[in-house]
Amino acid sequence: MSRRIRIPGKLPSVKFPLHYEGAPQRRLFIPEWYITLAKPKEKMPKNYVRFHVPADMTKYDMKEYLDKIYNIKVLNVRLSPVNYVRYKEPLPWRIKKMSEDAPTPYQWKFIEPWKIAHIFLADEQEFEFPNPLKNEDDEENEMKLTDMMEAQMKAMKPKKNGGDNKSKMFLENSWF
């Protein structure tokens, strides 16, 4: 059974009315869930897609999201939560100590959690993560790069005008 992560003040951000038999389907008029597609560093099957997903979402939410909004058919969804950790925040300015042996007053706090969704696409679909920072028509740029390299090589060559000795001295400096 999938459960929504609960943090008293913040999560879950959407509270649905209680369900009864014969109730209409749950609907969200304005879903406030934003997803990021992540590129995994390891090698994964071609079927595989990875999302970073808010902590509110469940498997079924994820499936409906992709189905209805993006029209992506999905074989399997697995969610793993991240940063669902509680820690003590010390509040030494609070004067609540009864004795010297009592511990310093503290407050329980949560780091902001989120989830990673591991998704396998259905119907033998494949996905290859493209490079959004690289243009396909880069042949001209490559030529330019080689031209730049040649120009640099020419500049590195020693000149025959005056000032040769100085440059030689600088280059042959034994300090470096």
Partner: protein
């Protein structure tokens, strides 16, 4: 199976290219809907006219920008949607716009994450702020409309009714109706919300209430006694006054019930009482 179903989900570069050139698959980025002043890389679409406001593009291509924008260092974008502009749209249009903005936001999030991973600057980071701002404005407009509708229909902005109730201790509070496990139209045994007077009862509470009432009556009785003595003193000085206290004089000592209590009003004020006269002037002090 239709051959286009096989082509669409596969994100090979050559396929995308051919699809972009053909008219079968629409332009992926309907930028004119998104932002007020659109990008210029959209001129080819103006020739076509379609009945639908948006075309569905299938697949994970929507998580990435127009391939023509790949590799650019600067991307120009227009202003965000303001509240004034959004108020002119119908709720249907706003609903559609929300999903357009949602997809754009997802695309920008993926781009941001990729840039963070590769340690490179993101092209056009102001787009995220603009999209977020327009989305929040959209939500505000829809909330405004819903609250207005609820106020007209129910009288409350939530649409959840309520009533004034009394505590077991006698204090008043506003009770908002809560959600029942089984809704009212399906309940066989009606267990309504019992008001607090009946729901919580004990003999100790009753005794407490009676004692409090007794105290109140004593105070009230004492108040009238003081008024009567004062009137008696005044009448002693002015014999023409009636025996019964006039109403207009009683009203002077009336207090306003605020925050559940009557303020303690002083009836005998020594430095004023000696000068209390009716239809006569104060004798001049020599």
């Amino acid at each position: 199976m239709h051959p286009s179903n096989l082509l669409l989900p596969i994100l090979a570069r050559k396929c995308l290219r051919s699809l972009m050139n053909s008219n079968a698959i629409a332009n992926i980025r309907p930028t004119a809907c998104l932002l007020a002043a659109s990008n210029c890389s959209w001129n080819g679409r103006q020739e076509q006219r379609c009945f639908h406001t948006s075309r569905r593009v299938h697949g994970l291509e929507e998580f990435f920008d127009n391939p023509e924008n790949f590799g650019k260092l600067k991307i120009r974008s227009g202003m965000a949607w303001s509240v004034d502009l959004l108020r002119r749209k119908s709720t249907e249009d706003l609903h559609k716009l929300w999903f357009v903005l949602l997809k754009e936001r997802n695309m920008l999030n993926t781009l941001e994450q990729y840039c963070i991973d590769e340690d490179e600057p993101m092209p056009g980071p102001d787009r995220l702020e603009k999209v977020a701002e327009s989305m929040s404005n959209l939500r505000d407009v829809i909330e405004e409309r819903e609250e207005a509708k609820n106020m007209l229909v129910h009288g409350t902005p939530d649409g959840i009714g309520g009533e004034w109730r009394k505590n077991p201790l006698g204090a008043t509070y506003f009770y908002k109706y809560k959600e029942h496990l089984i809704p009212e139209h399906l309940q066989e045994i009606k267990r309504g919300d019992k008001p607090a007077d009946l729901a919580y009862f004990s003999p100790k509470l009753e005794e407490w209430h009676l004692r409090l009432e007794e105290k109140r009556l004593k105070k009230r009785g004492g108040f009238h006694f003081l008024l009567a003595t004062k009137y008696g003193q005044i009448r002693a000085r002015n014999r023409h006054l009636p025996k019964k206290m006039p109403e207009w004089w009683k009203r002077k000592f009336r207090t306003k019930w605020l925050y559940g209590i009557h303020p303690q009003m002083r009836i005998f004020m020594k430095h004023h009482d000696k000068d209390y006269r009716i239809n006569s002037r104060r004798p001049h002090k020599y």
